[in-house]
């Protein structure tokens, strides 16, 4: 049996949870879905109708509304000790990155994070997993050692939410009182907030020119801005460029910024770390210009030029005229 730990989002199962469910379905074992947090009841109904789901459990406790790592760990550790699954599957979100490593350590069970592929072996009793390593420049296949359960987090976008198979009869939904002791919760959490209002909505842009650390400096951004201007595109950037203060944070593309899917996406000096790729891989046509022929950005690009962007970009601007 597999346990899938899902995250509610605005009263539904989050897209990332559905993707993780699609991954769990490939393991060909019965699935128990577990939900915690605000909106868990409503999200439970989304997941109960999925093929392979035999049981949906909402863990309920007054300390399981606003997220706090220690509360989630206590509730899930107790639940997993009672259910003894072969694998526990999560989406690789900021929330699971926060609590799952500590949960694995508390259970003393192996954890592999950020998986892009699952290969069941021995009829589904075990599995190997693929995941990126070395900034996405390599892909590794790994096995997990030690007693079950083995914990697995699935990379955002690696599986498709719309690939979740549905069943004819929904599984029952149960609400269980969770074993959480308020004394075990060390994090005192304040409500989430947004920094400044998002001034630029890149999600509506038809064309985007994105600058990566390969532009080298704020001056280097001028080259990117000239291309953006010539194409009538919005100028955007990867995280390092915004971290350095060369462009404001609201122009950042990626898991910590905006997720975009324009008709044309031109990546200049962007290496293509997975945190960036998840924010732009849905673009219709992707052009990558980078001096490093091994840069992972070329794996998602439709057109690529290997070379010095400071020579190539002015030539493109000239060619557009």
């Amino acid at each position: 049996m597999i346990v899938l730990v899902a995250e509610p989002h605005a009263g539904r199962a989050s897209r990332a949870s559905l993707e993780a469910l699609a991954a769990a379905q490939t393991m060909r074992a019965p699935i128990t879905v577990v939900l915690l947090g605000d909106g868990a009841d409503a999200a439970a109904r989304d997941l109960a109708a999925a093929d392979g789901v035999v049981d949906v459990v909402v863990l309920d406790h007054e300390r399981l509304h606003a997220y706090a790592a220690d509360a989630w760990i206590a509730a899930l550790a107790a639940f997993l000790c009672d259910t003894a699954p072969s694998h526990v599957v999560f989406a690789h979100t900021y929330q699971t990155r926060d609590y799952v490593p500590r949960l694995a350590a508390r259970l003393d069970r192996a954890l592999v994070t950020d998986c892009t592929g699952v290969s069941p072996i021995d009829g589904g009793a075990a599995a190997t997993f693929t995941r990126p390593m070395f900034q996405g420049k390599t892909q590794a296949t790994v096995a997990l050692d030690g007693p079950a359960p083995h914990l697995v987090t699935i990379q955002i976008g690696a599986f498709r939410a719309d690939a979740v198979r549905m069943a004819s009869t929904p599984a029952p939904v149960r609400v269980i009182a969770a074993a959480v002791d308020a004394a075990d919760i060390h994090q005192q959490v304040e409500p989430p907030f947004r920094e400044a209002k998002q001034a630029v909505d890149l999600t509506r842009a038809d064309r985007i020119v994105a600058a990566g650390r390969g532009v080298g400096s704020q001056d280097g951004l001028t080259t990117a801005a000239e291309l953006a201007s010539a194409l009538g595109a919005e100028l955007a950037a990867s995280r390092p460029v915004c971290d350095a203060g060369w462009l404001p944070m609201d122009r950042q593309i990626g898991s910590s910024g905006q997720t975009v899917a324009p008709r044309l996406y031109v990546a200049l000096g962007v290496s293509g770390a997975i945190q960036h790729i998840v924010g732009m891989k849905g673009s219709q046509t992707i052009v990558a210009i980078n001096k490093d022929a091994d840069a992972p950005i070329f794996e998602v690009a439709d057109y690529g030029i290997v070379g010095d962007l400071f020579e190539i970009v002015p030539a493109i601007v000239a060619a557009l005229k």
Binding site: A105, V112, T138, D250, Q284, V287, A319
Partner: protein, 272 residues
Amino acid sequence: MRIAVCLKQVVTREWHVRVNASGTWVRDDEASWGMNEPDGCALEAALRLKDAHGSEVVAISAGPARVTQVLREALGRGADRAVHVTGDDLASGDAFTVAAALADAVRGVAPDLVLTGLQSDDQGFAQVGGVLAERTGMAHATIIVGIEVGDGRVRVKRELEGGWFQWVTLPLPAVLTIQSGIHQLRYATLKGIMAAKKKPIDVVSAPARPEGGPGVRVLSVAVPTRAKQIRLIDGAPAEAARELVRALREDARVLGPGDGAGVSAHTVEPGA
């Protein structure tokens, strides 16, 4: 206050990653090495707390002899002393292995705060901080972009997804994993490098790993196959640029024939 900073030495981003002959790991005997970038942000955060509060900063790294490079670098930038946890298998070890090695050293240092990067540039498991917190019995928070130290507690700004943040207060001692961009990093000055030569590096051995315990075992490593059929355009810049523009207009049809003509002003000012 005493702050321990856990630093990993990783292959540099510039190094051309090559897989070994057996396809089981990268050819890291040929690699160039440096400090894991997010760990560099953690070190900078610790040094800022030192600047503000006069804290003692202890750099810790687990790995073979070569990791003294990153410890010397940290001492040069302003850390007060260092601990090297030795073990040849630590460099490619999984998070449980590395966290166990660091946990012993952290207990020895007895810090109020432990800072480390949110993940490593090599294996990128993003696990060590949380596992280390559990092994040492400290509170934890991850993906941190701001730190306010108070009396016996720390208030930290956590980054959430999609531009959201949240403040979380933890009792000390606590483990924090630091997100990139928290600060502009300082470099080691010549004076700092000279002073670092007199600063101590304690050497301790990593604990033996129990047989049959939990772990992640790498079976194979490969350069990934391309998800899409990419068209690589060769040639001199002017020639490649003309071909790209032609392909975008005629093949991909994402540009109209008039696109780009007559536009000269920037639509966006960098740094605006």
